[in-house]
Assembly symmetry: C2
């Protein structure tokens, strides 16, 4: 089976049934962001079907989170397994009472995909939580080193922290980049810099924000300029680390800034970050919530960086269908038990699903497939950019699998037209259309996608 189905949209989008369902939902649950209401039973592979019976080729994939297709048979099998039924019914407090299967579920699942050099894991439930757990690990390690190995907590530290006061609650910071997105908790949101709608009215920590390189495209025409821009940003990172009002314990960076507009940087830039963070004892956290799990053509986005030593922590979520972070340094395990802890510490049911996802990606080399398909796809986008130079600008994602994006004047309008043409596609940043197909997107799906794009752009050109 080619996995290619007809796309068909017979109503306005959203259609009358979607609108009605959405209005009903809104009486109990905020539904203002609903694009359309879905019949998941009828959705299949790369195709999503709404309650009006419209079938779309889905290259948005639930905000980049569906890994291997709707109603994937291997995932259905995992969802019916005795181990997942037990995990659903007997949800454990994993830190206190893990199941006899927990070790093997991790070992044969998520850890089979662990980034090189990172052989330990802490499980969580969202990308935001994963990042915050990584920040906490960085803060605890920073203070552990400052305190001295084996030095116990002082009475003053113990009492002051309960009052949110120094020295127990120290001023320590995580550095992030302009236009980054790292989540919506109070700690992760303090590192998110993408949009006001995420942050307005919410108290935040006074943490530093470095500029992220604003590269010019096409890259081959702006090599010197772009190298200078990256150098400028690296210098600013080091300046912030050494001059901030409090110690910077960690730095978090996305391999590709995703929510913030699909902003890329070169391997050299990330190598520079690794050098600076290592030099200053700053934990380097790669936020692979969106880039992880194969879409860039490698299992992990940071594998494109060719680092000499791995990031200190790598966080994940979305396509993993669960969340958490990997690490290699045993000192990132806190000095005492119960410091990095919560009731559930993730959800074993979701970790069992992640095992099926990992096995599907590895056994079918879907990361390799993304690399191969992405190369063909990128060439099609080059043609499109040549045909519509005023509407397809700053094309990016060459060599990054299917992680392709471009800028356009009216991204929201284009995406709306595309839905009407049977393509579910998303935006990011302020003027960017981003491709986030599933890992099972193949050469056969390129033609219908490009045909719809051509049609939509021709209409607006």
């Amino acid at each position: 089976m080619s996995g290619v189905l007809d796309i068909s949209v017979a109503t306005a989008v959203p259609g009358p049934a979607s609108k009605q369902a959405s209005e009903q939902l809104n009486t109990i649950f905020d539904s203002r962001a609903v694009h359309f209401v879905v019949d998941y039973d009828k959705s299949e592979g790369n195709y999503i079907v709404d309650v009006d019976g419209n079938r779309y080729l889905d290259v948005y994939s639930q905000i980049a989170s569906i890994p291997v297709g709707y109603n994937n048979p291997a995932l259905i099998k995992a969802a019916q397994s005795p181990e997942i039924i037990s995990a659903l019914v007997n949800r454990p407090a994993i830190g206190n009472f893990p199941s006899n299967q927990w070790h093997d579920i991790l070992k044969n699942g998520l850890l089979a995909a662990a980034p090189p050099g990172l052989d330990k894991i802490f499980t969580a439930q969202s990308g935001s939580e994963a990042n915050e757990l990584a920040y906490k690990a960085a803060f605890m390690l920073y203070r552990r080193k400052q305190r001295g190995e084996g030095v116990d907590w002082s009475a003053e530290e113990i009492s002051s922290c309960l009052n949110n006061a120094k020295p127990g609650s120290p001023d320590l910071a995580i550095l992030s980049f302009a236009n980054s997105f790292h989540g919506r908790g109070f700690g992760s949101l303090s590192t998110t810099r993408s949009k006001a709608v995420h942050k307005l009215d919410i108290p935040s920590f006074n943490w530093p924000q470095a500029p992220f390189p604003a590269l010019k495209y096409p890259l081959e025409k702006h090599e010197a300029e772009n190298a200078a821009e990256e150098k400028r940003c690296l210098a600013k990172v080091e300046e912030l680390i050494t001059s901030w009002h409090c110690p910077v314990a960690g730095l978090i960076v996305e391999p590709i800034q995703s929510e913030g507009g699909d902003n890329h940087a070169s391997a050299a830039f990330f190598q520079g970050l690794r050098d600076i963070t290592a030099k200053h004892g700053v934990m380097m956290i790669a936020d692979e919530v969106q880039t992880g799990f194969g879409a860039t053509g490698k299992f992990w986005g940071h594998q494109h960086w060719n680092l000499n030593s791995p990031p200190d922590m790598v966080t994940f979520s979305k396509k993993a269908q669960t969340a958490g972070y990997f690490f290699g340094n045993a000192q990132l395990v806190p000095d005492k038990a119960y410091r990095q802890f919560n009731t559930w510490i993730g959800d074993p049911a979701r970790v069992i699903m992640s095992k099926a996802v990992v096995q599907e990606i590895l056994s079918k080399d879907l990361a390799g497939q993304c690399a191969r398909v992405g190369e063909v796809l990128y060439k099609e986008f080059e043609k499109l950019a040549t045909k519509y130079p005023n509407h397809v600008k700053n094309l990016r994602g060459k060599g990054m699998g299917t992680y392709i994006a471009f800028d356009t004047q009216d991204a929201a309008g284009l995406v709306k037209s595309m839905k009407q043409l049977g393509i579910n596609i998303g935006t990011c940043g302020t003027q960017t259309v981003r491709l986030r197909p599933m890992l099972i997107f193949t050469e056969a799906h390129i033609a219908p996608l490009m045909s719809a794009l051509d049609q939509a752009l021709a209409a607006s050109a």
Copy 2:
């Protein structure tokens, strides 16, 4: 079936198989807090079985989170349903692409148990996240009122918030109580005040902490003193709200402070909090993460308060098997879409499980059962307190279902002895043993529990 099984412990606890499994796990996942490793397939109802074959009566219930028993048949049925398999395999970005079943899952599940007056819901994945979402709702509403209804965001607000600066990132606070526990995210942890192990080394917000009433027991002998203590605490709450360095937008309180030592207060105290928060426009958040879902003898712990108007928000997790918060005020829905938002907005698979839990509790009146069984159980504890006055002190939880606790000199030691006698029981605070049986704990389980307690206390007396 009486649901009574033999308890049997044939090894030291943890036994050799538990130790071995825990050591193996520790190579990839911090297992220092593991009590024992569990064979969930052999666990049943109120009984948990470890990998050494020991069977315990479980009155700790995965840190108070197992609602209706291990391998509950109704939950197994839910875990095998087509709707949960679809939710596991096709995990949606609920805010954008909800399923056609989402409305009914909420309506017939969690909302069937919604606290009176609170008819809207936002779903989440942990108690910590639920609380933080409630804080964000409180902050957004505070600023909305301050800004004026319908007044749009200013350019200065929009640009400053991206830099974590005022006015976009305002100084606003949530008030919490000494000894409270509200979670481990950076916002929720700033309101947690229970133990240094939770908070040390983690940066926090400068938010106010009010004293929680330190009641004397038995209550009937200290009526005047306790009323004065509650009055003192209420005065301090009002003083903090009116004098804090920044506006207090919300107040969060547990119906019974659970992690902090099972600290209770009277209905009059909570009525006083409702009056003060209403007077000063402070959102009152009832943190029912541990008290919700029936164990206190009512579905919600705050139903013991007999308020004239409900709390503004009620958060839940644990026995719900999922998480989120209820609210009634339409203004707590932010002024724009995407402000209260994230990729998954909870997990529909877990919300489907919660529907089965709610239906089980309501159809079998398990909250009523907890009230009835708790009354008998409390009388047995009164006898125990009379027999061991030096070891069973400050008995509390009268009229609060099975939510019973007492202080003892060596709580950790007692709990250890109890495990060896086949009872899995937990501690809280610094010197408290807390009972957290499941909702299916019946009169028939009282005798084995009290017999073991008598034996353990006799040995240490």
